[in-house]
């Protein structure tokens, strides 16, 4: 028994296999029960979400013989937001011969996560990373190549080895299309059925096990029930709780949040990642923030004027009056410090009045030196599409003048608590990819999200799901079971309630208000006073929401306002848990920076004695405080130290 908890000890069994870390996964795979190939087709697996994790899991499971139903909110499974990942995917191939290894990738990931991840999970991630590259190449992913035809690698934020594989600035797109194509092959073969424009609105739990989902057909508004033997949540993170983030407009937290309310523990919600290189906010109308791959930091230099409120154009500021603050403070990593460090430093200089651009919330990312050193052609080859994107959005040419960048909410390391098998605390409910909490600790390294999504989908869940199905006694369940009607009824009631309020304010107005509150008080820097303020404000906002929101139309139609309203209602609940978690964790670690806990130099200061655990929250019912369960983290292989990138 690995977890200590205050209430239900069984829920927190992380199920980490015994033995040396290098052998755990092999041993576990041997220990997992197998299912007779002929019996696999009798199992129906419901996969929610078609990003890297969902599409790869659906493909791999169908290849094994399971019957898979896949649901996505987009009009096509190919559009999941994994597609927007730019920079690359890590693997421990050591092709560049620069001393990389599974062990080093494992070490870097645990350290990069600021010692708040589970060692066994991270080791397994590093172990399967190579197989991911092999498989993606076999699927036809057009990774960058050297002239000799071998794969090309680059180094990426926070890593001192070149272990990142990439396809121009569209790596996420290419990996997703690879997984999507593998899944579509299974669609043609009859093993996978895709249900597009369906939003999972509720989980169905029967006899304590996840046995189905209720989806809203976004075209007709009809509620549809689907029964299965297990449910895989691959629905991504909750970054859109901040309203402005790099996530897609429709990325949302409703699926994981509703599963949380059905009993799945929610781990480390306060671990949110703010990405340092995004295009700054330009006005109130802004609906999203656009990320520029942090690979840009390989050749771009970040600076601000030394003088406060320096209104000069960048070209007019002489070299001596520029502050290359990352290079100055972190001479060995320079512009390549991990995301949290880069983001926080940008915030510090902006708060200091040295930010640039019309709002003052931006710093320069300058390519002048690289252009001089490497020439326009090399820079265009490496970053051409990113430069183009920047120019599209800002109408400024980064070949001529430095980019302006600023941090933005990007990724959430927190998510549903899962055990070593990626199963949540509800048996039969698995969470894969960004939806779970497992591998990145308090901070995710660049190019590791794609790795994790595909590891979970292609190479982990297909094994561990079999282990669950092989041992669980699962009675036959279909959608005539009364639990489905009951859940459908509750969903219908909730939607009707939203539609009947007929207030004066739009769902987006509330969302914007919530986002600003969180960004200011629970974003890059957090302190007790600000968090307490949020904790008081959010319930009030929620109450106002359910009195003042305006949702036109009916449920029985294509109704985007209703979709949004339903999701915002969940953000108004989830945000409170996020704040509560941030408040309880009185240390700084990774993306969670408590201003009360910093070193004299202003760096994040962990408190291993008191906070070396996973904080997993249990929903205790509406209006009740959630219950915290703690899964202690043991570091047997990577000894925690204060991260230093000096």
């Amino acid at each position: 028994m690995n977890g200590a908890s205050t209430k239900d000890p069984i829920k927190m069994n992380a199920a980490i296999p015994d033995g040396p870390i290098q052998e755990k996964w092999d041993k576990h795979r041997f220990d997992l029960k197998l299912i007779n190939p002929a019996n696999k087709r009798k199992y129906e697996i419901l996969v929610v979400g078609t990003g890297l994790a969902g599409a790869s899991a659906a493909a791999a499971l169908s290849e094994l013989g399971y019957k898979v139903k896949v649901f996505c909110i987009q009009d096509s499974p190919r559009r999941a937001h994994s597609i927007a990942a730019q920079g690359g995917i890590n693997a421990a191939k050591n092709y560049p011969n620069d001393s990389d290894s599974v062990w080093r990738l494992f070490y870097d990931t645990v350290k990069g996560g600021d010692y708040r991840a589970r060692e066994a999970n991270v080791y397994r991630l590093a172990q399967v990373s190579n197989a991911i590259i092999d498989h993606c190449v076999a699927l036809g992913v057009p990774f960058a190549r050297e002239y000799g035809g071998t794969l090309s690698n680059r180094s990426f934020g926070g890593a001192q080895v070149s272990r990142t594989f990439y396809a121009r600035g569209q790596t996420g797109q290419q990996l997703l299309l690879g997984a999507y194509s593998a899944m579509m092959r299974q669609v043609a073969a009859g093993g996978v059925e895709v249900f597009a424009r369906r939003e999972m609105v509720e989980l169905v739990v029967i006899d304590g096990r996840a046995r189905g989902v209720v989806c809203r057909n976004l075209v007709t508004g009809k509620l549809e029930s689907y029964a299965g033997h297990a449910v895989l949540l691959c629905t991504g993170g909750y970054g859109n709780v901040f309203y402005l983030s790099t996530n897609a407009i429709n990325s949302n937290a409703s699926a994981i949040w509703r599963c949380h309310k059905k009993g799945a523990l929610f781990a480390n919600p306060c671990y949110t990642q703010i990405h340092p290189t995004c295009i700054p906010v330009s006005g109130d109308y802004q609906s999203k923030l656009t990320l520029m791959s942090e690979s840009l930091r390989n050749d771009g230099r970040i600076w601000v004027p030394k003088k406060k409120l320096d209104g000069r154009k960048p070209s007019e500021i002489p070299e001596g009056e520029r502050d290359y603050f990352l290079e100055r403070k972190y001479p060995s990593f320079g512009n390549l410090v991990p995301r949290d460090v880069a983001s926080r430093n940008a915030k510090q200089v902006a708060d200091d009045g040295r930010g640039v651009g019309s709002t003052g919330f931006a710093v320069y990312l300058d390519f002048a030196d690289s252009l001089k050193r490497l020439g326009v052609d090399v820079i265009r080859e490496r970053y051409g599409n990113l430069f183009e994107m920047y120019e599209h959005i800002t109408s400024e040419d980064p070949y001529q003048s430095p980019m302006r960048i600023y941090p933005a909410a990007h990724y959430t390391m927190g998510g549903l608590w899962v055990d070593y098998n990626l199963m949540t605390s509800i048996p039969g409910l698995f969470a894969l990819g960004e939806a779970n909490f497992s591998d990145h600790g308090a901070n995710r390294l660049g190019a590791s999200a794609l790795m994790q999504g595909l590891a979970d989908g292609y190479f982990i869940a297909p094994y561990t799901l079999g282990g669950y199905l092989g041992t669980a006694r699962l009675d036959k369940v279909d959608t005539i079971h009364p639990a489905f009607a009951e859940v459908e009824g509750a969903v219908r009631e909730r939607l009707q309630k939203l539609l009947s309020i007929k207030g004066k304010r739009t769902p987006s107005e509330f969302h914007r208000e919530l986002g600003k509150l969180l960004w200011d008080n629970c974003g890059m820097g957090r302190n007790e006073a600000g968090l307490m303020k949020c904790l008081a404000a959010i319930p009030q906002m929620r109450e106002r929401y359910w009195k003042e929101v305006m949702v036109p139309g009916t449920n029985e139609e294509f109704n985007q306002a209703l979709e949004r309203a339903d999701r915002v209602a969940d953000y108004l609940e989830l945000s409170e848990l996020l704040v509560r978690d941030a408040l309880h964790r009185k240390e700084s670690c990774g993306g969670h920076f408590r201003e009360e806990s910093q070193t004299e130099e202003g760096e994040a200061k962990r408190d291993d004695a008191n906070f070396s655990y996973v904080g997993a929250w249990e929903f205790a019912g509406a209006g009740r405080d959630p219950v915290l369960h703690k899964e202690p983290l043991a570091f047997e292989y990577v000894k925690p130290s204060q991260r230093s990138y000096k």
Partner: protein
């Protein structure tokens, strides 16, 4: 800036639609086109009216969800743009802007400017993949891909599947979308074993789905947000011809 929008409104697939006029007031030139519609929609919602339905998601030009025909051009007037990355600075104060959905028999309207593009998924399912079961891949560097082929494959693979090529084609042909995938896989060594099967299966479906035929008008190429070239269609035709002539069926 202030603008007049004429937007296609259609309750659902079974209803008839028509253009309706809306005013967009106080729009910042730095706002994106979709943010401009957001502003109009917020106003409509506040009034309890049905907001304009339109597909959108990533809003950074990569997911391929957004699909508006602006003043007769799929994705609007800017070359190599999706409509979500089109900014209002490209319009003038007082402009009248006509907004319509993709038009094709294969893309039926769901509501307003939202269409059903599932046909593109079915085309992919017909053969837009390499059949390699998870776990059976060789070491990634065991497959050498000449850099030039990899680059060309990547040019084709950049397709975001938005369907603007269909919307822009005078014949509503899906050739560019199809050719991009067929080209990508034909250019890579991994794609060779299924080369003939793929081109035949995928092109056969394009007719069945009700798309038109390519007559080299090049509107697709001029509209494609990812600048995918019609050379890919030539390659598809070449693949098709070779497959038809050389395969052993009878």
């Amino acid at each position: 800036m202030n603008l007049t929008l004429k937007v296609w409104r259609q309750k659902d697939g079974a209803s008839r639609g028509a253009l309706e006029t809306y005013a967009a007031r106080d729009i910042s030139p730095d706002a994106s086109f979709l943010e401009m519609i957001d502003i109009v929609n917020e106003e409509l919602i506040r009034e309890g009216k049905d907001p304009i339905a339109f597909d959108n998601d990533c809003r950074e030009g990569i997911c391929g969800t957004c699909s508006l025909v602006v003043n007769g051009r799929a994705h609007g007037p800017q070359r190599n743009h999706t409509v979500c990355t089109l900014h209002m600075r490209h319009f003038k104060d007082g402009d009248v802007i006509v907004v319509e959905p993709w038009r094709s028999r294969a893309f039926p309207v769901i509501k307003d400017c939202v269409v059903d593009r599932a046909a593109l998924d079915r085309l992919t399912a017909a053969g837009g993949y390499i059949s390699v079961p998870t776990g059976s891949a060789v070491d990634a560097n065991a497959i050498l891909v000449p850099r030039d082929s990899a680059e060309k494959a990547m040019d084709a693979a950049a397709c975001i599947g938005c369907g603007a090529c269909v919307a822009a084609c005078p014949n509503a042909s899906v050739s560019l979308f199809l050719a991009a995938k067929i080209s990508q896989l034909a250019l890579l060594p991994q794609g060779q074993p299924e080369r003939e099967r793929r081109v035949k299966a995928m092109t056969a479906l394009m007719k069945a789905e009700g798309f038109g035929n390519c007559s080299w008008e090049r509107e697709c190429e001029a509209t494609c947000p990812k600048d995918i070239k019609i050379a890919n269609i030539s390659r598809m035709n070449r693949e098709f011809l070779l497959a038809a002539l050389s395969s052993a069926e009878h």
